[in-house]
């Protein structure tokens, strides 16, 4: 049994100091691992990343993250990653991280992913150089997802951590016109080829929490505006060991706002 806490799109900025830390300090009570599904910062500066690192210092369980599009905006990627890693966070891009909890191994395959759209309404590798570059970038990012899952090997629990969406299901609520900017079927196809127990992503703030890949793998959109909570906890294992008890079922209520 493994309990995985996950949230994405926390968009930490200079005005975020002190807002996240009290909630994150409880992660150790609820989960074995914390996943951050990209858009960790608002505009991708080193200063914002340092604030996030401070907010995470109360977390003792391992933290694994991928970057999102906001984290790349200021072209400070290396410094952003370094600042986040200073808090003990593993930032993955086409890489895997594995952990052992009570004899069970958990493998996290992390990659940002990219857009492109979904089967029947997606970009093609054709035409202007810019268009070809766009979809080739998606293809390359999807390859990274698959390679990272291959690197996870035979872990008991295999989780893909993305920023962009691998399926349309979890975009429900978003405007159809922007689906190609929110994710790509190529990511879902890569996950289905490699195999996983769960896919976690963010990016789609107006979307829906729950979905399924065509291959039958559960997908969860954990964008903070979608889950409306500090984070969600997914317990993978026998039901009696997970003992959900009186905790709040994920995806059961409207997002809480203040």
């Amino acid at each position: 049994m493994i309990r995985v806490a996950a949230v994405g799109d926390v968009h930490v900025g200079r005005d975020s100091r002190g807002r996240l830390a009290p909630a994150f300090e409880t992660v150790d009570d609820h989960a074995d691992l914390l996943l951050l599904a990209g858009d960790l910062t608002q505009v991708g500066t080193e200063d914002e990343a340092a604030i996030l690192a401070d907010e995470l210092r109360g977390v003792s369980v391992p933290i694994v993250a991928v970057l999102g599009n906001h984290d790349l905006h200021s072209d400070q990627t290396e410094r952003v990653v370094s600042a986040i890693e200073a808090a003990g966070v593993q930032v993955l891009e086409g890489e895997a991280a594995t952990f052992k909890f009570d004899g069970s191994t958990v493998g996290i395959a992390g990659a940002k992913g990219f857009g492109g759209g979904f089967a029947g309404a997606c970009a093609s590798d054709f035409g202007e150089p810019e268009m070809k570059e766009f979809i080739r970038h998606t293809l390359e990012r999807a390859d990274r997802v698959e390679e990272a899952l291959d690197d996870v090997g035979d872990a008991d629990v295999r989780i893909a951590l993305l920023h962009y969406a691998p399926v349309k299901d979890t975009l429900l609520g978003e405007k159809l016109e922007i689906y190609p900017f929110l994710g790509s079927y190529l990511l879902g196809e890569a996950v289905d080829r490699a195999g996983a127990d769960l896919v976690v992503h963010g990016h789609a703030h107006h979307g829906t929490e729950k979905g399924l890949t065509p291959g039958g793998i559960r997908v969860r959109n954990v964008a903070h505006p979608v889950i409306g909570r500090p984070y969600n906890v997914y317990c993978l294992g026998p039901e009696e060991e997970c003992a959900v008890g009186e905790r709040v079922p994920a995806g059961s209520v409207e997002p809480a706002v203040e």
């Binding site: 806490a5 926390v10 968009h11 930490v12 900025g13 005005d15 975020s16 807002r19 996240l20 009290p22 909630a23 409880t26 609820h30 608002q42 505009v43 906001h70 905006h73 127990d197 769960l198 703030h205 107006h206 559960r218 903070h224 505006p225 889950i227 409306g228 909570r229 500090p230 984070y231 969600n232 906890v233 997914y234 317990c235 993978l236 294992g237 026998p238 039901e239 997970c242 959900v244 905790r247 709040v248 079922p249 994920a250 995806g251 059961s252 997002p255 809480a256 706002v257 203040e258």
Partner: protein, 83 residues
């Protein structure tokens, strides 16, 4: 001639994305009657207020209604069992 409202919506969305006070890509903008309506959710009260400032700068004499919410970090985490 005043700017068609459809262009105003597009220009405001671009301003909200690009303006360094907010960089807000997920605020929904639409024209309701003679007003511009903003909806969605952001992470801090400061960003919600800054969105209104950017919108007013962009919209001139057109009235702006800011219905953007702030997402908090209160409450318990959700939990789901995945067999």
């Amino acid at each position: 001639m005043s700017e068609p409202k459809q262009y105003l919506v597009a220009h405001l969305q671009q301003a909200l994305a690009a303006d360094e006070r907010v960089h807000a890509l997920d605020v929904r903008v639409k024209v309701v009657g003679e007003k511009v309506l903003l909806t969605g959710a952001v992470e801090t009260p400061e960003r919600r207020d800054a969105i209104l400032d950017v919108a007013r700068d962009c919209c001139g004499d057109v009235e702006v209604m800011n219905e953007v919410s702030v997402i908090g970090y209160g409450g318990d985490p959700g939990e789901e069992h995945l067999p």
